[in-house]
Symmetry: C2
DNA sequence: GAGTGGTCTAGACCACTGT
DNA sequence: CAGTGGTCTAGACCACTCT
């Protein structure tokens, strides 16, 4: 999507503080789940008022970069937290409830990136990628088949992992094992027809309509780190999107 | 969707001010596009500091209830503004560009609400509704067929309008003619198979996969005012969703 | 009790708009 | 020019957590 607009020449103080703090987050100075220094410490260190630091951190909290607790402190957001678990999973049962998906790995291999991957993941030609194929089981039934592509460079050794060792949720793994924190994602949805392989995996007839979810996941500074394509049987589920 | 949680017993001042202002917005005290009184006026009237009013209005701006301009003032948000035009339309061309849809009315009739409509629109049994059917033309080709359902009570006389008199965009009409401002919407997406009628309208074969977008549009206080169901040919377009 | 973030105030200065 | 919203400061009080 058309993103990223030119920055104004002069930035407010709080925005500059925010930039500095986001840079320090990106550098890994504080790991996911760890506490940041307090507002007053930052205020003193940067020689600005506490209110200015507050505004900077409030924006980081609004962007889900950190979470704040009164009386406890400010912590780097983490996908390992229960609250953020499946934060990016938008399939709901028709009755509106949301039950969390299980994963069943089909394959996990290392490959050379195709042209599409190099473009989506901002890779050089010939770069290595790990490609994971898996089924997603919701409420006991296979509801989606998913292809996940990540650069080997950032996730060294992932391509050599055995399927049984891969967890249900990948983003916590990205965080803890590779220090890659997924911040936001963009999804492109289409209706497509099931091919023979998909139809068999999902237990539907060839040509059945499937919801394709094409996701690019990004870390700090909008750098893409994962490309994922799911094809979902939406007979009993829907993808939820809130507009405002 | 599971929405609306219990309010805390004691609400901060700024939140109370926000509630009061939203109530006054809802009452129609200021029409879309019109200016609100200034921060300092509200501060004096409610006997709170200007900073507290600022925080209340900032939240209303974040919710797209109002728009603010430095030097000019605060204005009630309106779908008639260019910026908000097609704000809720999420279909993009495959190349990422977004061109705006034209509408071709198929029919516009008054009916008795079915059980589904009474439930979706919070109506009494036997209530009258206006049902509009139309095609959406994007880039010269028919890309979607759409059914729109609104309560006659709120949109009196809409059901008697001739198709030629209905504009491309309905939300500006809702605003100017009926004083109904759409604030937010929820969409549920599925992949479905085209039936004979849809296939003919969209120029695809029967059974082709279509993206169904099922939207409930709401005004202030999450009151539903429109139910809309679109079935889209996504061969050359995708539905965009940003996750954070 | 010391330390955290959340609320609220009061006042200053600024950029920008309309006249 | 007066009036608007945007930024920044400094300080007070609060609810809450940890030890």
């Amino acid at each position: 999507m058309p993103r990223g607009s030119a920055r104004p020449v002069v930035r407010p103080l709080f925005a500059q503080i925010e930039d500095l703090l986001v840079d320090r987050l990106r550098s890994g100075e504080w790991k996911p789940g760890e506490p940041l220094p307090s507002e007053s410490e930052f205020a003193e260190a940067y020689r600005v008022s506490q209110g200015t630091v507050r505004k900077a951190i409030a924006r980081m909290a609004a962007d889900n970069l950190v979470v704040r607790f009164r009386g406890r402190g400010t912590f780097v957001a983490s996908h390992t937290n229960e609250r953020e678990h499946s934060h990016f999973f938008h399939l709901h049962r028709d009755d509106g409830t949301k039950d969390f998906p299980q994963s069943r790995i089909i394959s996990c291999r290392r490959r050379k990136a195709g042209l599409d991957m190099t473009r989506r993941l901002h890779l050089d030609a010939g770069a290595d990628v790990t490609v994971i194929e898996r089924l997603r089981v919701i409420g006991g039934a296979v509801r989606a088949i998913e292809t996940i592509m990540v650069p080997e460079e950032r996730f060294r050794g992932l391509g050599a992992m055995r399927g049984e060792d891969l967890p249900n949720e990948l983003y916590p793994l990205y965080e803890t094992r590779y220090g890659v924190r997924v911040i936001r994602a963009e999804e492109r949805l289409k209706a497509v027809a099931a091919d023979a392989r998909e139809a068999e995996a999902l237990g539907v007839t060839v040509g059945s309509p499937l919801l394709e979810i094409d996701r690019t996941a990004m870390t700090y500074a909008d750098v893409p780190v994962e490309w994922r394509r799911s094809r979902c049987n939406t007979e009993k589920h829907f993808y939820f999107s809130a507009l405002r």
